[in-house]
Symmetry: C2
Subunit: 716 residues, 2 copies
């Protein structure tokens, strides 16, 4: 398999090369007027200052965890943790640094044409996308290569598995902090800024008189860019690792282990290439549809990925019989190839469903716009209704994915489907990361007083960005739903392995006599499901509280500045932007710690609590059930929050061109209906950009910690 690993590594390197090339291309673009550069400079400084503090704080936690991993597991695991954490941090750091430079260039380019603006913004997004996919793949494949090559471990060796799981853990830990911290910052700024600016003072979004406006733009970069990048890096790394681990366990003791562990890497390598090719298909057509331009890239990537999948299958497992899995199913390569295609199809369906629920022009968003006509209350009620309803179709798609892939090739088939789904992450992240750039470009255009048609171009880009942002979140959580079985299976098989070895007297004495019972008839399974199910709710509540608190602090700061210096509203004196940025930085860092630790500590606490009350077998059963419980509710909580929030946002946007209600009355910006829609948008902000997306890493980290807990208990 070294040849395949070499090719995979080259694919990863290719994505880095693409990122370097694209960065140079973005940086060479015109930065516009001195005023624009000045504004962009303020945003850049704020974003860099925030990220520096965030990483410093995470590093403190990280060092403790690194030392603990080293002590409790092994140096290889600790190094894995470090690789995952550092590469995730690098992806977010570089992505954000490009983003804060691309914003002003996008604004300037948009003043020349929509197509040019789209070009720069998308290229900036693609840099983040390719870095996320490329670095994650390089990390996993490279470390796997080192471990099995120069260090000489067998691919299915526990040390290798533990090291890879630790790599996933490193990525997860960064991710949950970055998603939550960034989310609290960005939505604290957004909510606070909107409430005083739009609602109280009646000034438009991004008005330079609003002291929170720079903070709002900083937030787009640290939350929607860096936070999202860390999230997807984690999703990618954890999925690939889980599928590899599953392959190792599933075919344990067979010669095919190295191949089935390399296969997911090969799929990812192939899909990186197709994603890079796909970026060149993003081009504004004659009809001027931005969504159409982005879709061209996405569909090109998806179709080419079918070819890529075939190549990856051919180069590794082949299309014939591979071997018999532990469960007795004979797996063949053709079926795995079909599983991969199912993964791509699930991606496509989730993109389509998310667009339906969040896009302007479809029933859900129209129903929210219509409800705004009768007031704030009905707007929020209808938004919540849409948010709850939007969970149905994705769930059915995921259920379909589970059933079809499982019948084709067992759990490993499901793992391959999720891997293929995540394979195209480079492209999906590109679609998402382009959003904050256009959002910033709009802000810069407004603040620098560029002609209104520039703002119109950036607004058009931004509206599409709302939908693509919801798409990525639906995609990430959808992959978690489909991957639920894989992660739970990894836990289950790990546990079985340790118990079997212990019974055979081959070490792992801790597991002697353990008889985990995962049947729903076991009350500890129900207890685990309920406690796992609680995590997304409690976590979501904490995240919402944090945003509310941060937003409230911004409101008070802005009100204070307006009160103490009437020149601000008159436009004669400049507000103190830095104070709002600084306030939010401190608030976000402080607020992210406790909720982030909830999913990290939950499996450990539940394990030891049940152990104390009932015993080892019950404790392992409860923790296992917890892993599924957190997915069962997490899936719904995350989808409802992200789709509902996106729908609220676009319902608000629908008033900008005038919304025509069922009685044919046209409601414009500034109307009562528009004001009601702003309330919904404000509520949707932390839903879609803080609590909802952070549920995804919360699910993963609970699973990863449970796997590590097994490893530590086995080691101790």
């Amino acid at each position: 398999m070294p040849t395949v690993l070499l090719v995979v590594t080259l694919c990863g390197a290719l994505s880095i090369a693409y990122a370097i090339w694209a960065t140079q291309s973005v940086l060479s673009a015109d930065q516009g007027s001195p005023r624009m550069r000045e504004i962009a400079g303020a945003i850049r400084e704020g974003a860099q200052a925030y990220l520096a503090r965030q990483y410093t704080t995470i590093a403190l936690v990280g060092i403790v965890v690194f030392a603990a991993t080293w002590a409790l597991l092994s140096s290889h695991a600790a190094v894995g943790f470090l690789i995952g954490a550092v590469l995730s941090g690098i992806a977010g750091f570089i992505g954000m640094n490009v983003s804060v430079r691309a914003n002003v260039r996008t604004a300037q380019a948009a003043s020349r044409s929509l197509g040019l603006g789209l070009g720069i913004a998308f290229k900036s997004g693609a840099i983040t996308g390719m870095l996320v996919a490329g670095l994650a793949l390089l990390g996993v494949a490279g470390y796997f290569w080192v471990l099995t090559g120069s260090l000489g471990f067998a691919p299915g060796d526990r040390t290798v598995i533990d090291a890879l799981v630790s790599l996933g853990f490193g990525a997860s830990l960064i991710s949950i902090f970055a998603r939550l911290g960034g989310g609290i910052f960005t939505k604290g700024a957004d909510v606070g800024g909107d409430l005083v600016g739009k609602v109280e003072a009646g000034i438009p979004e991004d008005d330079p008189r609003n002291p929170a406006t720079i903070a709002d733009n900083v937030g787009d970069n640290v939350g929607d860019c860096a936070g999202m990048a860390a999230d997807l890096f984690e999703t990618y790394a954890v999925t690939v690792v889980a599928t590899m681990v599953l392959g190792a366990i599933f075919f344990a003791g067979q010669a095919v282990v190295p191949t089935v562990m390399t296969y997911p890497l090969a799929i990812c390598g192939a899909c990186i290439v197709t994603s890079i090719i796909g970026t060149f298909f993003v081009r504004l057509g004659a009809n001027g549809s931005i969504m159409g331009a982005l879709y061209k890239g996405l569909w090109a990537t998806t179709l080419l990925s079918v070819v890529g999948l075939a190549a990856a299958t051919w180069a590794t497992v082949g299309f014939g019989d591979i071997g018999q899995a532990a469960s007795g199913i004979t797996v063949n390569g053709l079926n795995l190839f079909v599983c991969g295609i199912i993964g791509l199809a699930v991606t496509g369906l989730i993109v389509w469903i998310t667009e339906y629920y969040t896009g302007i022009g479809f029933r859900p968003v129209r129903s929210i716009s219509q409800a705004s006509v009768t007031g704030h209350g009905t707007n929020v009620i209808q938004g919540l209704a849409v948010s709850l309803e939007s969970t149905a179709l994705p769930t059915i798609v995921i259920v379909g994915g589970i059933i079809s892939t499982y019948s084709l090739a067992g759990l490993y088939g499901t793992g391959i489907a999720v891997t293929a789904m995540l394979g195209v992450a480079g492209m999906i992240v590109a679609l998402d990361a382009f959003g904050p750039v256009t959002d910033n470009a709009g802000g810069i255009a407004e603040m620098a007083g560029l002609p209104s048609d520039v703002r119109r171009s950036t607004d058009a880009l931004d509206a599409v960005g709302n939908t693509t942002k919801a798409v990525t979140k639906g995609y990430a959580i959808g992959s978690a739903g489909l991957g639920a079985l894989v992660l739970f299976a990894a836990y289950n098989y790990d546990l079985q392995y340790f118990v079997a070895e212990a019974e055979a007297g081959r070490g792992y004495a801790y597991f002697q006599g353990v008889q985990p019972d995962f049947a729903l008839t076991n009350p500890y399974v129900v207890v685990g499901l309920l406690l796992g199910g609680l995590i997304p709710f409690l976590f979501g509540g904490m995240a919402m509280t944090a945003v509310g608190r941060a937003g409230g602090a911004v409101v008070e700061e802005v009100r204070r500045q307006f009160r103490e210096d009437p020149g601000i509203m008159a436009g004669t004196s400049r507000p103190n932007y830095a104070r709002a940025v600084d306030l939010l930085t401190r608030a976000a860092i402080k607020e992210m710690i406790v909720p982030s630790l909830l999913p990290v500590l939950a499996p450990i606490v539940v394990y030891f609590a049940v152990l104390l009350i009932a015993g080892k077998s019950e404790a392992f059963s409860a923790v296992g059930a917890m892993l599924l419980g957190v997915i069962v509710t997490g899936l719904f909580v995350a989808i409802s929050m992200t789709s509902g929030g996106g729908a609220w946002d676009n319902a608000k946007k629908s008033f900008e061109d005038g919304f025509v209600d069922v009685h044919g009355v046209r409601h414009l910006k500034g109307s009562e209906a528009h004001k009601a829609s702003v309330t919904g948008d404000t509520v949707g902000d932390p839903y879609k950009d803080t609590a909802g997306p952070a549920v995804n890493p919360a699910i993963k980290i609970t699973n990863i910690v449970a796997l590590l807990l097994l490893a530590v208990l086995a080691h101790g």
Copy 2:
């Protein structure tokens, strides 16, 4: 056991006697001025007209189901269905009819003293409470007696079990329609009326100029009284039936079966007596605390119920060893008694937690009030945060209940705990049903122009009613959470029984070769969990949409009346109240059908879909997992909605006496902060009174339908 059944029946009859006595006592009170009678008459007419239409519609569905039950199962099952449905209807019908007569008498009594007002309102609530518990107990115990007595079936016979489950199904079917229809009516009126009245026109709640004001008061009676009564009737009946069925299966083939089936009935009989005694403890103390007065009754009931439990245990199973359950655990009476006490403790803890999350003066409500100071958006965000967070402690209490009762006496012990919990339902419903009476009394006082101190008394009663309403909902859903295991176990053991009989060649040929696998490692179990988990979300979304739509229609109707007749706002002409009532009646009946059918049809559709794709074993596994899935998410959805909604409502109320924020600023009624709190209250309305509480019958009905599906397949 006939003696015990006789005593139980007498206890049931006692509650009916109490209801007759209390009704006479309420009706003999003074009805106040002609204007008050006129208003009360309009409310009464509207409520009766609505209920007549609702029951007619349900009857149409009911006749079809009755015929289907007869054809597919047996005449005994069909009669059971009829008993459950009719008695549930009667409890709601009488309760509501007392409620619409007690409202005006409460207003009149409150004009003399707070204590007298409380007395009439609580007595009216107690009538509904005792009818719910008494009729449910009489129905279950009476039918069980007839079946095992004059019809001569063995207590554990399938015919008896099917007939009792069908009785539960009858109650469930009424319940889901009544909860949803009543909830849509009441909250459509409330949301619509508030939006135009309070927010747009700036007139107070219950102002006679608001055309929706009579509809709002009608809604309190049809939703919060009749709908709630049907819900608790169902919870009571289903829990008792499920525990009896579990007893029959758990000790199958042992002589102790009749005893363990009678024990739950004896507990309920004893607790009805203690509930009746408890009502006499409700009396306003020297400190004038209304909540204190109600708590005196609740604590008296709870403490006396410990004695009642002991008596019931002594009279049936005794305190020694009872026998060995199917699972091998030896069950003894003392442990069952302790399980009952745990059930009462869970009730107490849930009451306490709910009061913390929804009561004025505690952190959660204060945090929402504080968030209102910074605007509509932060109010809603903080309310959602509280709503998500409020699920944590009840879940931990339920988990504690499951673990402790299961370790004491296995699943039957858990069943006994839930039975004891539901035993005191008469008292809990009394606390709840007093709410709509005081709410109405306030409305009548306002509309009839009574002195403002009367309104102050009724407002004080109403604020407490908000919390007690939330308490009942938390209690109902909490019992469902704890009862989850019991209902799932009934399904599992039923299935095992049919399979075993089929394997032994004793009929039930359909089940031959079925091997259900409820392990979480089975992907069909994960599929079932996800599809079950979807139900509360989709159902909640549909319910919210329905309220939004009904509320929007009311807004337009009220706006139209204001526009077409300016005399209404001037106070010179009277609005057309009947139109709003009529509009809502049609809307509620129309909107309740489709969502109600979702949980009814879901298990059937999932069974046949999975059967088609995979096979019988997989289909039974998926449906079984679905039953737990619907509880795992339903528990969180229901608690978050009902507690969150209650908190929003009381946050709004906190401004009525002036809310002092963290900076020491006092915000009064009419302030911007108060307006923001009204938006939250509006959002919370359908959360707490439509979608949230309807999740409870939705959970039960999914479980009951699954049990019936097994019975039908076994019969066919």
